[in-house]
Amino acid sequence: MVSLFLSEVKRSWIQFVRYPSEAITLTITFIAIFLGLFYGFQYMAGGTTQFGDRLDKIIISYLLWSLTLYALTGMAWTIQNEAQAGTLEQVFLSPYGPIVVFMLRAFADLLVQLAVIVTAFTSIILITQRKDIDFTPLAILPLITVMLATYGLGYVMGGLTLIFKRIMNLIQLMQFVLLFLVMTPVEDWEGNWRIATHFLPMMPGAGMIRALAINHAPFDPLQFAVSLANGIAYFLLGAYLFHLAEKSAKMKGLLGGY
């Protein structure tokens, strides 16, 4: 399986860099969208002095949103593209099974995406002069829980693609659902609403990342336990639903079609 993961990383990287114009365009687009959001928001706020933390939250939330968006829709895009290209059935002939193959592929794609995000993040920090974001290494832990839940939803999107092949409209809709899930400042909420967000995918982990990186809050083990349980539960649920979708697609003979 290690061999397959390394092959997936290599495949993903080769496909990314083989056409440099695509890689450069992707990175520039990523930065441009953010700068548009950033300066637009700054203009509307009128440059108040208390704007700093909010800008930091925008930066962190945007990076989180783009990372999760890629992970959420990556599997669906992969399946759609492979079905179109005529390689999807070969993936299903692997003895590792599609759940493992698509997971390793998603991890590999994430590494490539991280290269884009690190480049973009550094550029954004330099351009916007936000040097006080405390990217504590502890934030990696809740980030993992967020990614687990995201991949769970990614499996659901992938499963739907297996059956319906084209789910462009749903993918577009999910971008806005994701905005709500990762950008809502749940870390500032109290009471029952806060508890309710523990059951929604990604929300507890996303709030914890912002609390650690921007509010400079101490690491809360209980909050992390909630985030981890949330991530694992959504991951397993997503993988199970993907398995059901695979069974359905094989029963209806839909794997090879597009």
Binding site: E8, I14, L93
Partner: protein, 307 residues
């Protein structure tokens, strides 16, 4: 033990309130080193059967065993299986020939070191060494097909499924692929092959199975099937124009008319019926032919359609 045992496979598809029985009671077995040509008209159920064997389509009933394992429930069965599926590219166009081989080797579960050795071996064997660093999209159709077969062989599967491997290839490329299939079977791989090029099937298959409307209508060793039909094929040449009435009667007997030449498969009694229809046209030539697989296939399929 046969490498492939597919027993009593059934598959029905339902779409828009209409059901289509794609495969009915199909059974196939294949021994190591054997080539089985699986023939049938478009929509007869060949691809559905192949995909049920590969575990890509779930049968409504019946069982599949590859090397004794069920590909629908045991992923280990897939280690003994390689497939090149019809209508698919089967390989990644943005990767080079060698990168494809290495990636699919890992996907099929072999180690990186083993994959490197095997990739070079297959590139040499399939005469693609000089194209190892060329991306697939720059290769000719014939080279792409050779590469797809090489990719399917990376993990040394005992059973190889080839769905229309010569489709869309020029004569030379098709000839190369045909030779490769022969060589691969001689090395001990069992091959299940579908093709519309019946001369290819006749030349390289040990056995033939013909499927029509989802059911197997003939299955026997290729040469036995041909022998069985030998002496029943005739070519008749006449010296004048056939009337519409004569053409209609000949069509009823499944005779093929090409201008003034009539090709006919049947016994002696039926031959006299044809000659009776041709009366009073002058006969220039009546020759008993050696039947080939194409004629046999057409006859069996047409008989089935009429029945």
């Amino acid at each position: 033990m046969p490498i492939l045992e597919a027993k009593n496979l059934y598959k029905t598809y339902a779409a828009r309130g209409k059901t289509t029985q794609a495969v009915r009671d199909v059974s196939l077995t294949l021994e190591v080193g054997e080539v089985l040509a699986f023939l049938g008209p478009n929509g007869a159920g060949k691809t559905t059967t192949i995909k049920m064997i590969a575990g890509l389509v779930t049968p409504d009933a019946g069982t599949v065993r590859i090397d004794g394992l069920d590909p629908h429930n045991d992923a280990h069965a897939l280690r003994s299986l390689g497939a090149v599926l019809e209508g698919n590219r089967n390989i990644y166009w943005r990767l080079t020939a060698e990168e494809n081989l290495l990636y699919f080797g890992a996907l099929r579960g072999i180690t990186g070191a083993e994959a490197h050795v095997r990739a070079v071996e297959l590139l040499g064997r399939f005469e693609l060494l000089d194209k190892r660093n060329a991306t697939v999209q720059t290769l000719s159709r014939g080279m792409q097909q050779k590469l797809a077969i090489a990719v399917a062989l990376m993990h040394r599967p005992r059973l190889l499924l080839l769905d229309e491997p010569t489709l869309g290839l020029d004569v030379e490329a098709a000839e190369t692929v045909k030779e490769l299939v022969k060589e691969i079977s001689q090395e001990g791989h069992a091959i299940l092959l579908t093709t519309h090029q019946l001369d290819v099937a006749e030349e390289i298959s040990d056995r033939v199975a013909i499927i029509r409307k989802g059911s197997i209508i003939a299955e026997e060793p290729t040469q036995e099937l041909i022998r069985r039909f030998c002496g029943t094929a005739y070519t008749i040449e006449v010296g004048g124009e056939l009337t519409p009435a004569q053409l209609a009667k000949l069509a009823e007997l499944q005779a093929l008319v090409k201008q003034q030449q009539i090709e006919f498969l049947g016994d002696a009694d039926e031959l006299w019926q044809v000659l009776e229809i041709l009366k009073p046209l002058p006969l220039k030539r009546v020759v008993q032919d050696q039947a080939d697989l194409t004629e046999i296939f057409l006859r069996l399929v047409r008989e089935g359609n009429d029945g």
